[in-house]
C-alpha cells in the first residue's frame, strides 16, 4: 500500500471522511429516534456539507483574513493526521512510533484550540464568549481524559498504540480491569466533542452559535467535518484501548458503533450543564477518579 494511497484513500482521507459523515448521521438519527422523531435521511450530512461548500463565504471585516480562512483547514488537517496512528477500520495504522498515543490526543486537542481561536479572532462578542467557554472546557476535561487513556498504556507498559492494542487484544478487556478509567474516557470524549451535557460552548439559546457564529460556507463545512472525524477517531481510540483492541474491520465496526450508541443515548438523556458546573464536575470528580484508577494500576503493577 503505497503511502499516498493510505494517506488519501483508504484508512486516511476519503474513507475516513465518508465514515465520519456516516457517524454523524447515525448519531443524529438515533438522537431523533430517542426523541420520538423520524430523523434525517442517510445522505443528510453529505448534503449539508456540500451545500455549505457551495455557499458564499462571508468574511466579516476587521477580522484577520488569512487566519480566519486558515483555521478550519488547520483543524481538519490536525484531526486527519491524528487518524494516522489510530487503528481505523481494524487495519494496521499507517504509522506507528513510540509515544504516538500522546501525539494523537494532543492533535485532537488542536481541533478544540482552533475552534476557540476561531471564536476569539472574530470581533463578535457571542463568538468571543463561545471561544472563552471552549477554552475553559478544554482545560477542565483534558487532564482526566489523558489520564484515563494512559491507564491501559501503563498496563501494557508502552506508549505505542499498536503495542497497547496488541496487549489489549491478548488478555481480558481493559473495560473490566479498569472500569473507572473507561467511564472517565467516555465522558472525556463527550467533553472533547462538546456533546450534550457539555455543549455550553455552543448553546443556541445562550450564545447564538458559540465560537462558529461568524462562520459560513467553506469554513463552517470544514469545522463540521473535522468535528465528525474527531468523533470517529476518538471512538476508535477508546474502543481500541478499552474494548480489547480492534483487530479486524468487523470488530472495529461493532465496537465503535456500540460506543457511539452509548454516547448518543447519554446525549439524549441529560440537560446542558452550565459552564461553571462542567468545570466543577471535572475538577472535583473527573480528576479524582482518573488518579484513583492510576493508583490502582500502579499498585497492581507493583504487586505483579
Amino acid at each position: 500500500m503505497n503511502a499516498l494511497g493510505t494517506l488519501l484513500l483508504f484508512p486516511g482521507g476519503l474513507a475516513l471522511l465518508l465514515v465520519a459523515l456516516l457517524a454523524e448521521w447515525i448519531s443524529r438519527k438515533l438522537l431523533a429516534r430517542l426523541q420520538n422523531r423520524v430523523g434525517p435521511r442517510w445522505f443528510q450530512p453529505l448534503a449539508d456539507t456540500v451545500k455549505l461548500l457551495a455557499k458564499e463565504e462571508v468574511i466579516p471585516e476587521g477580522v484577520h483574513r488569512i487566519l480566519f480562512e486558515f483555521l478550519p483547514v488547520l483543524s481538519l488537517a490536525a484531526v486527519l493526521t491524528a487518524a494516522l496512528a489510530v487503528p481505523l477500520f481494524g487495519v494496521v495504522p499507517a504509522t506507528s512510533y513510540a509515544g504516538d498515543l500522546i501525539v494523537t490526543v494532543y492533535l485532537l486537542s488542536l481541533l478544540t484550540l482552533c475552534t476557540s481561536l476561531a471564536g476569539l479572532i472574530t470581533d463578535d462578542h457571542y463568538a468571543a464568549l463561545g471561544g472563552l467557554r471552549v477554552l475553559s472546557q478544554l482545560f477542565s476535561y483534558e487532564a482526566p481524559f489523558l489520564l484515563a487513556l494512559l491507564g491501559p498504556a501503563v498496563a501494557a507498559e508502552s506508549w505505542q498504540i499498536t503495542r497497547i492494542t496488541a496487549h489489549a487484544g491478548s488478555n481480558v478487556w481493559m473495560l473490566f480491569t479498569q472500569p473507572v478509567g473507561f467511564v472517565v474516557a467516555v465522558i472525556g470524549l463527550m467533553g472533547k466533542l462538546e456533546l450534550s451535557p457539555f455543549d455550553a460552548p455552543e448553546a443556541h439559546t445562550e450564545i447564538v452559535a458559540g465560537s462558529l457564529t461568524e462562520y459560513s460556507g467553506r469554513g463552517l463545512a470544514l469545522f463540521r467535518l473535522s468535528r465528525n472525524v474527531a468523533l470517529v477517531v476518538g471512538l476508535t481510540l477508546v474502543a481500541a484501548l478499552y474494548l480489547g483492541g480492534v483487530s479486524d474491520p468487523l470488530a472495529f465496526a461493532v465496537k465503535t458503533l456500540a460506543l457511539l450508541l452509548v454516547i448518543t443515548t447519554v446525549q439524549a438523556l441529560f440537560a446542558r450543564l452550565r459552564i461553571d458546573q462542567t468545570i466543577g464536575l471535572w475538577w472535583h470528580y473527573g480528576v479524582l477518579l482518573a488518579l484513583g484508577q492510576w493508583f490502582l494500576i500502579l499498585i497492581g503493577k507493583g504487586a505483579a
Binding site: 426523541q35 451535557p197 439559546t205 440537560a271 446542558r272
Partner: protein, 397 residues
C-alpha cells in the same frame, strides 16, 4: 440583538438585551440596571419589539370586530383574552350567557391552560438544553391541539367565544375524546412531575435559582404560577370566580420554596387540577342553547373584567359610550406584571444575585451575553455574561 444605544444623558446603565423572541414572553425586550458600587439601585425594562398599538386600533373597530383583534394579542392564550373581553362586554350589556356556553368556555380555558403549561415546560427545557423534554412535552401537547381542532376547527386562535356565548357545541363523541385525552394528560403530568423533582441534571439547572419569598412576592404584586410558587395563593378562579367557576370549586396549587423548581412543579400540578375540573365539568354539562341575544350598541358604562390566564391575572378595563364601537379598552397582561415586579425585586439586591433572579423567571434572559456595567463613579466596564456569572459565583461561594 442590538445594543440599546447608551445615550450620554443617563450614564448609569447596565444593559442585558434579551433575544428577539420567546413564546412565553409577550414582548421581547431589554433589561437595564443602575448600579451603585455593589448594590443595584435601579432596574428597568424596555419593551416595544412586538408592540403593535392594539389599544388604539380597538377604538376604530365595532364590538364584534374587536373579538378577532383581541384574540391575537397573544397566540398562546387567545381564548382567555377573548373570554375576558366577552365577560366585560356582556356585563356592560347586562346579558348573561346560557350555562352550557359558560361551561364550554371554562372547558376550553382549562384545556388552554394545560397546553400553555406544556408549551412553557418544553421551552424552559429547551433553554436549559434538555432537548428531549422539549420534544416530549410538545408531542403530548399535540393531543390537546387535536381537541381544539376537533371542537373549533383551528389548533391555535380557536375563537370559540362570541359576544353572548359560544359558537361551537360539544357533541357526545367529542366529550369521549376529551375524557380520553385528559387520561393521557394526567399520566404524562405524573411522569413530568417525577422528572422535574428527581432528575439530577435538570435539578442542577433549576434548584435554588431565583428564589422569591412570599413577602416579596406579595409586596411586588406578582401574579399567577410565579406567585403561587412562592406561597402567595392568588388565583382569580377562587377569589373572583367567573363563568362556570362559580359552580366548580378550584383547589389552588401552592408551593413554598419559591425557586425555579417550585415554578416548574406548580405549573405541572396545575395540570392535574385542570384535568379534575374538566372531568367535573363534563360529568354534569348543562343542556340548553349556546348564545344569548346581544344588542348591537352596548349601553354606556365602564367595567373591569379579570380572568386567570395561564401566566396569571389578566386585567381588562372596557368603557363604552353607547356607540357600536368601544371608547376605551385597556388590557394589562400577566407577563408585564410579573416582569415589572421581578425586576423591582432586584433593587437593593447584590449585583451578583441578578443572573440567578433573572434566569429564575425563566424567559430567555440569557439569550445575549453582553453587559455594560456603569458604576456610580461613571467609569464604564464592559463585562461579558460569563465574567458576570463568574463574578456572581465567586461572590456567592
Amino acid at each position: 440583538m442590538t445594543t440599546h444605544p447608551d445615550s450620554a444623558a443617563t450614564p448609569k446603565r447596565f444593559t442585558i438585551p434579551i433575544g428577539p423572541q420567546h413564546p412565553a414572553l409577550k414582548e421581547p425586550g431589554f433589561f437595564e440596571f443602575t448600579v451603585e458600587g455593589e448594590t443595584v439601585i435601579g432596574a428597568t425594562l424596555r419593551l416595544g419589539y412586538a408592540h403593535r398599538g392594539i389599544e388604539k386600533a380597538v377604538v376604530s373597530r365595532t364590538w364584534v370586530q374587536n373579538l378577532y383583534l383581541l384574540e391575537r394579542v397573544c397566540g398562546i392564550c387567545s381564548h382567555i383574552h377573548s373570554l375576558a373581553y366577552c365577560l366585560g362586554v356582556e356585563k356592560l350589556a347586562g346579558v348573561t350567557p346560557p350555562p352550557r356556553a359558560q361551561a364550554i368556555r371554562v372547558l376550553i380555558a382549562e384545556l388552554e391552560r394545560m397546553h400553555s403549561h406544556l408549551l412553557w415546560l418544553g421551552v424552559a427545557a429547551h433553554d436549559a438544553g434538555f432537548e428531549t423534554l422539549f420534544m416530549y412535552s410538545w408531542r403530548d401537547r399535540e393531543t390537546i391541539l387535536d381537541l381544539f381542532e376537533q371542537i373549533s376547527g383551528n389548533r391555535v386562535n380557536h375563537s370559540i367565544n362570541t359576544l353572548g356565548g359560544v359558537k361551537f357545541d360539544l357533541t357526545a363523541e367529542q366529550i369521549v375524546s376529551v375524557l380520553k385525552a385528559v387520561e393521557l394528560m394526567e399520566e404524562r403530568a405524573r411522569y413530568y412531575l417525577d422528572l422535574v423533582r428527581n432528575d439530577p441534571m435538570l435539578g442542577q439547572r433549576i434548584r435554588g435559582i431565583g428564589t422569591m419569598s412570599a413577602a416579596e412576592a406579595h409586596r411586588m404584586g406578582v401574579v399567577g404560577p410565579t406567585a403561587r410558587a412562592s406561597g402567595v395563593g392568588r388565583d382569580l378562579r377562587v377569589e373572583a370566580p367567573y363563568a362556570a367557576y362559580t359552580a366548580i370549586p378550584v383547589v389552588v396549587m401552592l408551593e413554598t420554596d419559591g425557586d425555579l423548581q417550585a415554578r416548574f412543579i406548580v405549573r405541572i400540578r396545575e395540570m392535574f387540577e385542570s384535568c379534575r375540573i374538566i372531568r367535573v365539568l363534563l360529568d354534569h354539562l348543562p343542556e340548553g342553547d349556546l348564545q344569548a341575544r346581544m344588542p348591537r350598541r352596548i349601553p354606556e358604562g365602564e367595567t373591569i373584567a379579570r380572568v386567570e390566564a395561564p401566566r396569571g391575572e389578566l386585567f381588562y378595563f372596557i368603557k363604552s359610550n353607547g356607540a357600536d364601537m368601544p371608547e376605551r379598552i385597556k388590557l394589562r397582561t400577566p407577563t408585564l406584571c410579573n416582569l415589572g415586579s421581578v425586576l423591582a425585586l432586584c433593587i437593593g439586591r447584590q449585583l451578583a444575585d441578578i443572573p440567578m433572579l433573572l434566569i429564575g423567571t425563566d424567559p430567555c434572559f440569557s439569550c445575549n451575553d453582553r453587559a455594560v456595567v456603569i458604576h456610580q463613579a461613571g467609569n464604564r466596564e464592559k463585562w461579558t455574561w460569563e465574567q458576570f456569572r463568574r463574578y456572581g459565583n465567586e461572590a456567592l461561594r
